[in-house]
Symmetry: C2
Subunit: 267 residues, 2 copies
């Protein structure tokens, strides 16, 4: 059974394709080309039904969504009859937000007979299991990661974010809509408000939201996350084992050692 | 019964003294002078017991803590015998954090026979009850304040912060250790990541932590908070009625109208 990667922006689609045992068919939305990956099929939301028929003709049985897209503007002139019938449903979902849109799109793929699977099913190696992957984790770091994990769980329950920064038990920042890069840049900027780094530099912790659809939007970190954590003056990154996608793990391990950071898949 | 205000930095001690029916005795820690308020008595932690005796001699029966202090460095040469006996307890609390320190200090005041009361007991007018105090609150604003209140409650349960910013249901930021000013500056800086302001500019919401000791660290807002909310592009400020200190409410109401913001004590 052939697999199609519905690729959004960023490095994840290429990392995913590289981790798969058989080369997938790569499809991308018009205007959202993935990095470092050749696109076999470009589609537009206005012509979703013809695109689904094309996947079927190509022998695709399952699809995986990978990488970010933003909600596109729709051009009514491009609509075919089949997609026009789906439009009220899609428009309603788009008004309700990104998650709702993706859920609606997944529903439509499933109604057309495709299995929609997650990155963890297709390429489990991208989500490291429990273990210290680089550096050393002190008792202070463990305590900070415990506290951060409790904070992220509380935030997830109100559907806020997937990350938090804790140093010496103090919460220096929490991930909200702006995301990881903004959070780490904010922590880098708080200066004298942070506790004495000599007693513990602090941890960035990342986890999936409890109860989230694991086929979409699993948290992703990569070499850039490590660089940002170093700029923020942290001691390392901890994440929920088995639930966080690591882009280029061996590069991340090398970089963590170079930067003097730990990288810990917390079980 | 005479009241002593143990004044920290900022404008709260002066606002509190002005709101009291009888002029209090004003005491301040060496190096932490309040703004716009004459200090009757300066004290150092190393000489806490002689300070408590002096309050007693002056006929003080109850004390209220108001305004911020940071944990001071202690000079052992200044210690008197009585305070030296309290030192192990104070040092242990100081190592455990600001809240623990303040709780230990409150305990010592109580053991010396003083009643420790909160701002809400001495000057309830500083904590507005439910009502719209300036501007108008739309249904969108109400929904955003509801969502922000749920987030702040969840954060309070893990002892993180007292505030959050929500626009169109999306959480743009959460208050952690760095505090309100940093949160609002961060929201001002996220630029294109925020949703279209034409559909709802968003709300900064502030509340007490559930279960916090209401004699210390009740959340405080003032004219500067409104100015920062305006710079952050928000539609207004909502707060938990009866639990948030408003510094100079009439000035805040005037300013809110000038800035086109609402100010809402949410019941």
């Amino acid at each position: 059974m052939k697999t199609a990667v519905i690729a959004g922006q960023g490095r994840l689609p290429a990392a995913l394709a590289a981790a798969m045992t058989e080369a997938p068919l790569v499809a991308a939305m018009d205007g959202f080309a993935p990095e470092g990956l050749t696109v076999d099929l470009t589609f537009r939301v206005e012509r979703l039904v013809p695109f689904l028929r094309a996947l079927e003709r190509d022998g695709v049985g399952q699809v995986v969504f990978a990488g970010a897209v933003t909600r596109p503007r729709l051009d009514p002139a491009l609509l075919d009859e089949g997609t026009a019938g789906l439009l009220p449903r899609l428009m309603q979902a788009m008004a309700a937000g990104d998650d709702a849109t993706l859920r609606a799109v997944i529903g439509i793929f499933e109604e057309f007979g495709f299995a929609v699977v997650g990155v963890e099913t297709i390429a489990p190696a991208l989500l490291p299991g429990a273990g210290v992957l680089a550096g050393t984790v002190s008792a202070r770091d463990e305590a900070d990661a415990d506290r951060a994990a409790a904070i992220v769980t509380a935030l997830g329950a109100v559907d806020v974010g997937q990350g938090a920064v804790v140093a010496q038990g103090l919460c220096l920042g929490v991930e909200a809509l702006p995301g990881t890069d903004v959070l780490l840049a904010q922590v880098a900027g708080i200066g004298a408000l942070r506790p004495d780094p000599a007693r513990g530099r602090g941890v960035f912790y990342k986890a999936a939201k409890p109860g989230q659809d694991r086929r979409i939007d699993l948290p992703t970190i990569g070499p850039d996350t490590l660089r940002a954590a170093a700029v923020a003056g942290l001691g390392g990154i901890a994440f929920e084992a088995g639930s966080v996608i690591c882009l280029d793990l061996s590069e991340m391990q090398r970089l963590a050692r170079d930067l003097g950071l730990f990288l810990w898949a917390r079980g």
